[in-house]
């Protein structure tokens, strides 16, 4: 199983990502985006991963340059990859890339959503996530309603749709079961847009969503920073969690062309 972890100038979560992927059995080469664009050969990988960071200095918009460059060179390859139901994961800056590339909320030539500035600026903190009823095979090892502890670190993570279309967009996302994670309170009750439970003011507390087919997952929280017990703030007090690691185990299960709940 080969998971391509890409890095662009300014990417800074690549090593944690590689470590988490290797832990669940992936061969996880870390390749610079310029080499990926030169090779033009995505088909030799089973999984594509866009890790977090501040690619291209977050200039123009977070994720925009990476996303647009990628699509400009590899549009057909990328669409074949998605159509083959192979998993693509974008975390943090990677989510911004997937939205700007027109892969989230679904494949499109122009973005159908935006990752807008947080209502309170840059935030680096632990958050609670509730697993929603979803079609995402990558998140298939989580139970619906389960509450996870995963950190965020971003300034532009407010999932936004065109003003006035919020209701319609939400109904569509919910109808397709595309919302995978929502920010919530520690007991799993809705954050209701309230800070700090919802750290960025995102629409309907959305923290992570997938495409309608369930093989492309984009999330702002960092599962690779919550994959080992010693990464959790209270591990010396006996907190034994590895909430993020199950995402990567699920990813391993859904790699190889399978999607949906076929883990």
């Amino acid at each position: 199983m080969k998971a391509l972890v890409m890095r662009a100038p300014g990417t800074n979560c690549d090593s944690e990502m590689v470590r988490a992927l290797k832990t669940v059995g992936f061969d996880a080469p870390l390749v610079h985006i310029n080499d990926v664009l030169r090779e033009k050969n995505l088909s030799r990988y089973d999984v594509l991963v866009f890790p977090g960071g501040f690619s291209y200095g977050d200039y123009i918009r977070s994720g925009a340059i990476w996303g647009k460059k990628f699509v400009a060179v590899l549009k057909d390859e990328l669409r074949d990859f998605v159509a083959a139901k192979k998993p693509i994961v974008g975390v943090c800056n990677g989510m911004q890339v997937l939205v700007e590339a027109g892969l989230i909320p679904r494949t499109a030539d122009y973005p159908e959503a935006a990752m807008a500035s947080n209502s309170l600026g840059y935030r680096c903190m632990w958050t609670w996530l509730r697993v929603e009823k979803n079609v995402c095979g990558i998140a298939g090892l989580y139970k619906k309603g389960e509450v996870l502890r995963v950190p965020i670190a971003h300034g532009e993570g407010r999932y936004t749709v065109a003003p006035g279309t919020e209701k319609k967009a939400l109904a569509e996302l919910e109808g397709n079961e595309q919302i995978v994670f929502r920010y919530c309170k520690p007991d799993g009750s809705p954050a209701g847009g309230e800070y700090p439970w919802n750290p960025n003011g995102s629409l309907s507390d959305i923290a992570g969503i997938c495409n309608p087919e369930g093989n492309v997952l984009a999330m702002m929280p960092h599962p690779e920073r919550a994959s080992f017990f010693w990464q959790f703030p209270d591990w010396t007090l006996g907190e034994k969690r590895e909430d993020g690691l199950r995402l990567f185990k699920g990813l391993a299960g859904s790699a190889g062309g399978k999607s949906g709940r076929s883990i």
Partner: protein, 73 residues
């Protein structure tokens, strides 16, 4: 030709930086009713205005949250 591209938030999109500037201006004793931020690009190019507009749609804006205007600088 030098073009001036201005990128603004669409009406109804939260502008935290504008709001922070508004609060700060008021706290300094200035009178202000609203502040909106915008980003300006000055682009030197042999391309037509139409092409510059395509630059806006393709890269410089996210059409979901931004409006833009292009003029000759």
């Amino acid at each position: 030709m030098l073009y001036r591209v201005e990128v603004r938030y669409k009406k109804g999109v939260l502008d935290p930086e504008g709001n922070a500037a508004l609060d700060a201006l008021r706290s300094l004793g200035f009178k202000a009713d609203a502040v909106a931020t915008a980003k300006v690009y000055l682009i030197e190019t042999p391309s037509s205005q139409k092409d510059v507009e395509e630059m806006c749609r393709k890269l410089l804006t996210n059409p979901i949250i931004h409006d833009y205007s292009v003029s000759k600088a």
